[in-house]
């Protein structure tokens, strides 16, 4: 077999078909383990679901009891000549089967909340997305310009980065109580947690990206007559734009990880409230569905941004798509052209 046909060859790419196959497999593997544990009776199943309680006084039909207790009770009953209980092997309530979770994806949207003033699931989700959006936007409004300044000028780097370097080690959740005291119990403290979690990393990551810009591009621009602010706006900013965009995608992912902490600050809201509420009612398939939904929203938005990035920065690819030509015309004066400001 030639080296091209091997599944395992160090640092060699795989064919498109094999890549797709393995991508599917990466999801199918955990799913099949979950299915096996759920549907194959002799795998795990530490509980027994009671179907006929027989003569055991405290068993209830449909309830789950531990296997050894079930056996013990039946043994004593048979010894004393009573009617044994009947049951089937089951998993604990916190591990629903895949099909139950799939159904929950639909039913959790259609089931009305228990109390009238409580939000529906889609309202909770929208609320979560809003908290992320504002936290991330506010952080970016200050963090991106500051990061670029720190990367471009040693002055700003020395003035801000040492403190930021220190501050980023302070865990954002630790500011929960403080932000409630300052900002009240509504969304403001939650947005503040996302902000604190994102901002300090953002400044450092972006200043680093800015510093990685090839210095000879700046020198070339200088010999062509670019000075001071023009050097920053016409060379540094467009030069780092594709990398900046990548950084923002990664940072947005981090912002999501702070969501759950942010949402239990003050009053519990959003998807976290939904998850906690369903946990209290012991409807674990809804809990799983909600957790998976967060994953899907995060991954989908990242894939969308990656796709968009390819078209926003046509100079990074070898071929230009129609969409990228459209964008380059639309944002022409911003990204590409240097029409004079006069």
């Amino acid at each position: 077999m030639s080296i091209n046909n091997q599944w395992l060859a160090i640092r060699k790419p795989l064919s498109a078909k094999r890549r797709l196959f393995l991508t599917l497999l990466s999801f199918l593997l955990p799913l099949s383990i979950w299915s096996a544990v759920s549907y194959v009776d002799w795998l795990w199943h530490p509980m027994v679901e009671i179907q006929d309680k027989g003569d055991v006084s405290y068993f209830r039909e449909g309830n789950l009891v531990k296997k050894d207790i079930f056996r013990e009770e039946n043994a004593t009953l048979i010894a004393s000549g009573g009617n044994p209980a009947v049951g089937v092997p089951a998993n604990p309530i916190y591990l629903p089967a895949p099909h139950e979770v799939v159904t929950a994806f639909y039913t959790s949207f259609t089931t009305p909340p228990k109390r009238r003033n409580e939000p529906w699931l889609h309202e909770s989700l929208i609320h979560s997305v809003q908290v992320i959006f504002w936290g991330f936007t506010l952080s970016s409004l200050i963090g991106v310009p500051l990061g670029i300044l720190c990367g471009a000028y040693s002055f700003f780097s020395r003035l801000h980065e040492p403190f930021i370097e220190f501050f980023r080690y302070l865990p954002a959740p630790a500011f929960g109580a403080l932000s409630v005291a300052v900002l009240g119990i509504h969304d403001a403290p939650k947005i503040a947690i996302i902000f604190i979690g994102t901002f300090f990393q953002q400044v450092l990551v972006i200043s680093n990206t800015t510093r990685k810009l090839d210095v000879s591009l700046i020198e070339a621009a200088q010999t062509l007559g670019a000075k001071k602010t023009k050097l920053l706006t016409k060379v540094v900013v467009p030069g780092i734009l594709p990398d900046l965009y990548k950084d923002m995608r990664i940072l947005l992912g981090w912002a999501w990880t702070y969501l759950i902490v942010a949402e239990i600050v003050g009053t519990s809201t959003g998807i976290t409230w939904f998850i906690n509420q369903q946990g209290k009612y012991r409807i674990y398939e809804n809990v799983y569905a909600a957790i998976i939904m967060i994953g899907i929203i995060g991954l989908a938005s990242d894939l969308f941004l990656a796709w968009l990035g390819k078209h926003l920065f046509p100079w990074t690819g070898r071929k230009q798509s129609k969409l990228s030509v459209f964008f380059s015309r639309l944002f022409g004066p911003v990204n590409q052209t240097v029409f004079d400001e006069k």
Partner: protein, 299 residues
């Protein structure tokens, strides 16, 4: 090893070449470098990159700068471009002292340094845009420069769609579009393959012939230096000093056939003597053990 082949002296000039140099010497001095010294502080103490370098270039002269590695060629050209400052001495262009980068001195770097986010046309327009010019007038001017380097078809391409040689042609057009007094080129063809490099050399000579421009060209390729230049400034390493200024005795117009002319070879031999002194590499004999059978000889 080197069998001595009799060559004329590199100082011998044919009447036509001498006449050309006489005419050149009547031109105005464009660039004057006076007692240029540059030192760097390092952990091992002070390093002198350039020591008391003086030189003059006249208008529309083509100067090559050559020297062993570590002779401060790059520092030299970066000071001329205004990207670094001399420790002492001065650089005057058109009798005005140079300080800081300025569009009247164009620079072409070894790494192509095209702005990847701008199309070829926008790259060439960059300097004019920085000077506050824009619109269709500027655009058609840029197109002229792109035509000059033969890339009209690629005006709307991005740099990453071009080959190395094409990128460097755009870089030359971009520098020339600012209509500089002097074009500083820092090993501009160093990263190109031999074939493209030869092509670029002939392009550059054509451009130089048709544009009012003085060129200062750094290279470590001896043949390239001779082929292109009127005069060659030879630097010495540690510290970087002027070793000699050679008037190239090869007549113009230049063509690749001249590489085997006696005056060409004589100049090359002289440069070799200056840059790689004989004793330096002839004394290096490797302590090699014979690993082939006796009788199986190649020499």
């Amino acid at each position: 090893m080197t069998h001595s082949i009799s060559l004329p002296s590199y100082l011998e000039q044919s009447p036509e070449v001498r006449e050309r140099f006489d005419r050149l010497k009547q031109r105005d001095v464009l660039l004057e470098i006076k007692n240029l010294t540059k030192t760097f502080e390092s952990n091992d103490g002070t390093i002198t990159a350039l020591d008391n370098v003086s030189f003059r270039a006249r208008r529309r002269e083509f100067i090559s700068v050559i020297g062993p590695s570590g002779c401060g060629k790059s520092t030299f050209i970066r000071i001329l471009a205004g990207l670094e400052y001399p420790s002492s001495g001065e650089v005057r262009l058109d009798d005005e002292e140079v300080s800081g980068p300025c569009p009247n001195r164009g620079m072409v770097f070894q790494g192509y340094t095209l702005f990847p986010w701008l199309t070829v046309k926008r790259n060439v327009m960059f300097g004019m845009n920085m000077a506050g010019h824009g619109g269709t007038e500027t655009e058609s001017q840029a197109m002229q420069w792109i035509d000059l380097v033969g890339l009209s078809k690629f005006a709307n391409a991005y740099p990453n769609q071009l080959s190395g040689g094409m990128k460097q042609r755009v870089a030359i057009a971009r520098a020339l579009a600012n209509q500089p007094r002097i074009l500083l080129m820092d090993e501009p063809f160093g990263a190109l393959d031999a074939q493209t490099r030869a092509q670029m050399q002939s392009y550059l000579l054509q451009i130089w012939k048709n544009v009012d421009i003085t060129i200062l060209f750094i290279t470590h390729d001896l043949e390239e230096a001779i082929y292109l230049a009127d005069r060659i400034l030879v630097l010495k390493a540690h510290p970087g000093e002027v070793q000699e200024v050679i008037e190239v005795p090869v007549p113009r117009p230049r063509s690749p056939e001249q590489f085997i002319l006696p005056e060409f070879l004589a100049t090359k031999r002289r440069l070799e003597e200056l840059i790689h002194p004989k004793n330096e590499y002839e004394s290096q004999e490797l302590p090699i053990i014979r690993m082939t059978p006796i009788g199986d000889d190649v020499e």
